[in-house]
């Protein structure tokens, strides 16, 4: 008994069937051409958040202009609805079988993304949680408003019981640095700009903050050394028993500015 949902095969590898992919024909959600030589077929993915995209090379006219794609697309649609077939080869670079003489090869089969994009105003009436990175807003003109008590979770503490030290991105990331300054006037040197950019996962103009607490008995300056890619914008001395907020802003590929508030 036919269920009118033949299985579709696509294989972009000319050396084997290792990368072959089978799709249910009912998952096709679009067929399109956008250039002289391309043909794209989109399949709804199991993740539901995106499509698996099969891209093909199609034949152009002899004068290199784009050929009318209708024959290819119509052939695909008709074959999908041919109840006598259980399997359709859209394109197989290994066996060099293609659904239409104008389909020349399989360019790629792209795996779906897990990203779900929300456009427009969205409200969530219940609790909202995300297990990965979250971006809110996209420009200075966008407003991100928190209408509730704000809690910064997962803040831990880095403890330093020395006169001077180099503050790494990993330590900065903990959120709080408690420095028990000892012996004599201390100096804190920042890690390189490259390490801060990569360690904090910063994009251009991203800003990250960390609390610095000097609970020792010595004054400390926070502009130590000349770490590559770091610009100390200001340098107040943090007296014994005082604290400051350290602000790092990415200013270039491997560069950050450090503001001490």
């Amino acid at each position: 008994m036919s269920n009118s949902d033949p299985t579709i095969f696509v294989n972009p590898s000319s050396s084997s069937t290792d990368n072959g992919r089978y799709f249910r024909s009912s998952t096709i959600c679009g067929i399109e051409v956008t250039t002289t030589n391309d043909l794209k077929i989109y399949f709804k993915s199991a993740k539901e958040s995106d499509t698996s995209d099969a891209a093909f090379v199609r034949r152009a006219n002899d004068d290199s202009t784009a050929k009318d794609p209708r024959s290819i697309i119509e052939t695909i649609v008709r074959d999908l609805n041919n109840n006598k077939r259980h399997e359709i080869v859209l394109g197989d670079d290994f066996s060099e079988k293609y659904i239409h003489p104008d389909v020349l090869s399989v360019t790629s089969v792209t795996a779906p993304s897990s990203t779900t994009t929300i456009i427009g105003t969205t409200s969530v009436s219940g609790d909202f949680s995300a297990a990965s990175d979250v971006t809110l807003g996209d420009a200075n003109s966008d407003t991100v408003r928190i209408n509730g008590y704000q809690i910064n979770g997962k803040i831990t503490e880095t403890d330093k019981d020395v006169q001077s030290f180099t503050l790494t991105a990993a330590e900065f990331k903990t959120g709080i640095v408690v420095h028990t300054s000892v012996t004599g006037a201390g100096v804190v040197t920042f890690d390189t700009g490259a390490n801060f950019v990569s360690g904090l996962g910063m994009s251009q103009d991203d800003v990250a903050t960390c609390l610095y607490i000097n609970d020792g008995n010595q004054n400390v300056t926070l502009n130590g050394g000349t770490p590559a890619g770091v610009t100390y914008v200001n340098n107040p001395t943090i007296a014994a028993g005082s604290a400051a907020t350290l602000v790092v802003r990415r200013t270039g590929t491997n560069a950050v500015s450090v503001y001490i508030v």
């Binding site: 009118s4 949902d5 024909s25 009912s26 096709i28 959600c29 679009g30 067929i31 399109e32 051409v33 956008t34 250039t35 002289t36 794209k40 989109y42 709804k44 539901e48 958040s49 995106d50 499509t51 995209d53 202009t65 784009a66 050929k67 009318d68 794609p69 209708r70 697309i73 119509e74 695909i76 649609v77 008709r78 999908l80 609805n81 779900t116 994009t117 929300i118 456009i119 427009g120 969205t122």
Partner: protein
């Protein structure tokens, strides 16, 4: 039957979308445009695929009636809504495709 709606602006801008993704056909305020709205293929929330076609003024309802009839009773799974390459349209009052066929 897994029917598809076919739109073609040119040989580099054409596509077919399953009827199952069609959510709405809207007549514009000036009564000379049909806007086909399809469910977004990537499931982006709040997104849609929109394709607009010009019609003879105040004849859009006739065009939609033809489309509905073809979707419901037609025996051809490949339904040509507008093919500007071959100057073929589902109804004489559907005149052109006004937007790019962009599915993603």
């Amino acid at each position: 039957m897994n029917k598809f709606l076919y739109f073609a602006n040119s040989a580099t801008d054409a596509g077919a979308i399953p009827v199952s993704l069609l959510r709405e056909i809207q007549i514009s305020a000036s009564s000379d445009l049909l806007r086909f709205k399809f469910k977004d293929v990537g499931d982006g929330i709040g997104q849609e695929i929109s394709i607009s076609c010009s019609t003879t003024e105040d004849k859009a309802d006739k065009v939609v009636s033809s489309i509905a009839n073809e979707i419901e009773f037609g025996t051809n799974p490949f339904i040509v809504i507008a093919d500007e390459i071959n100057n073929e349209f589902i109804h004489p009052d559907l005149l052109s495709v006004d937007t790019s066929i962009s599915l993603t």
